[in-house]
């Protein structure tokens, strides 16, 4: 059975055509076909959030989506965050020590971005709730929350 299909994905604003088997997940296509290895695989079962991306404006686990189901949609990954310089959320993670090994970081950054898009001035509780789908095994959460709160503040002051 050759069930392969051409699909079209807009990733970080750039259009891509990819020829995929239906069984391949969005996570696989991002990492293997498009070389965007910033999006990580932790569990592969929707539990850890390391694969978090923004799909047509929605925060989702890329390990739970078939790439073919995302045909025609637009995806934001961690690679799209920095422009000439790092994104304020990335800066804040560095400044506040919000990472150690870093495997969870891309997912946290995407969840934080999504949270601050809709809520530029979150309380600590709202940050915790917004990041509840992301697990970190080394940094602990306090520094991550501090980083997100600091980023929120910086972003508010910038605009």
């Amino acid at each position: 059975m050759d069930a392969k299909r051409w699909i079209q994905l807009t990733v970080n604003g750039e259009e891509h055509e990819v020829y995929v088997e239906p069984r391949r997940r969005l996570l696989d296509v991002l990492r293997e076909d498009l070389g965007l290895t910033g999006t990580k695989e932790g569990c592969g079962t929707g539990d850890c959030g390391a694969c978090t991306v923004i799909l047509d404006g929605r925060l989702v686990n890329a390990c739970l989506v078939f790439a073919i189901s995302a045909n025609g949609k637009s995806v934001e990954t961690v690679e799209g965050l920095a422009t000439d310089h790092l994104h304020p959320i990335q800066e804040a993670f560095i400044q506040h020590g919000g990472l150690q090994c870093g495997i969870c970081t891309p997912g946290f950054l995407m969840s934080a971005k999504h949270l601050l898009n809709s809520n530029p001035n979150p309380t600590l509780d709202e940050v915790r709730f917004g990041l509840a789908g992301n697990l970190c095994r080394c940094t602990g959460y306090t520094k991550i929350y501090e980083a997100v709160l600091a980023a929120a503040k910086n972003m508010r002051e910038e605009t």
């Binding site: 069930a3 239906p22 929707g46 959030g49 989702v60 686990n61 739970l64 989506v65 509840a132 789908g133």
Partner: protein, 293 residues
């Protein structure tokens, strides 16, 4: 993961035709938050996937002329969770939804999928049962609407025929002086599967006598379960300690849990009793305060 052929119909009719045509080989795909994992682990190996997410008619929330609310089975859980009317009218349903996974998962997961998977431990079915939810099923022989309580047959087994699609869930409008509560017991506070779930819905009269009580259990029987015996005990009563205990015992007696790696039979049964009492009490509190049905 085994390869498969993929279809993304745009209408329910087309989906039904595809499911009919491919029979046993086909599997409908809703949010995918369970199915993708089952497929990855080769627990389910369909030859054909019929992706329902592209069918616009299966998403959305609307109020029907009789005051009930109908939502599409494919509406992402997150959309329901943030919908002002849903939050206002069915708060304990919304809190049940918020027990499911994370924002990332709820943006994909659907109530239709949660129901059709028929996991005995799913978070939304007990609460939907207490709301007297109905489900709309469409198939080649037409459409039928059945009460959700007739839908669950066994673990993973439902009244849905292979070529049918669950298109909508209908929730009757909540009554005045009513309150609901869902209590989930799991090892972790988030991202975990219930080992006991109890949902309650209570309607009181002006003297706080129970006019209607509904109790449903999750994770303690082959299907999500309404416990009529406990409900009858509460009917027409003041919620005294004795009445509540009796209802808790009736719920415990109706439960048929198993022992697995999450919890033992003994512990589950004991918790059914305790949580039934607690869930009824909390629902009644909300009914009295008029701040949460």
């Amino acid at each position: 993961m085994k390869n498969f052929e993929y279809f993304a119909p745009e209408t329910t009719e087309e989906a039904i035709r595809l499911l009919d045509e491919h029979g046993e080989a086909a599997k409908p795909l809703a949010g995918g938050t369970d199915l993708l994992i089952f497929m990855r682990d080769q627990k389910i190996t369909p030859d054909v996937i019929v992706d329902l997410k592209g069918i616009n008619a299966l998403s959305g929330i609307e109020e029907l002329p009789d005051g009930s609310v109908q939502f599409g089975s494919l509406t992402p859980m997150q959309d329901l969770a943030v919908h002002p009317m849903m939050r206002e009218r069915y708060p304990h349903f919304i809190s049940s939804i918020r027990e499911v996974g994370s924002i990332q998962v709820r943006n994909l997961a659907t109530v239709g999928g949660n129901i059709c998977n028929a996991s005995p431990a799913a978070d939304t079915p007990p609460t939907l049962l207490t709301l007297n939810a109905q489900v709309r099923l469409a198939g080649p022989r037409g459409e039928r609407v059945i009460p959700l309580r007739e839908f669950f047959v066994g673990p993973g087994q439902t009244a849905l025929e292979r070529d049918e699609v669950l298109t909508h869930v209908i929730l009757p409008s909540p009554q005045p002086r009513s309150g609901g509560c869902y209590i989930k017991l799991a090892n972790r506070q988030a991202m975990d599967i219930a080992f006991v779930g109890v949902s309650s819905y209570v309607v009181l009269d002006e003297d706080h006598t129970v006019v209607d009580a509904r109790i449903a259990l999750g994770a303690v029987a082959p299907t999500p379960l309404r416990v009529d015996a406990a409900e009858t005990i509460l009917q027409g009563q003041q919620l005294t300690k004795e009445v509540l205990s009796e209802a808790g015992e009736a719920a415990e007696a109706a439960s048929r849990p198993i022992t697995d790696h999450r919890a033992s039979v003994e512990y589950r049964r004991m918790m059914v009793k305790v949580l039934t009492r607690r869930a009824v009490l909390r629902a009644a509190e909300k009914a009295r305060n008029g701040n949460g049905r």
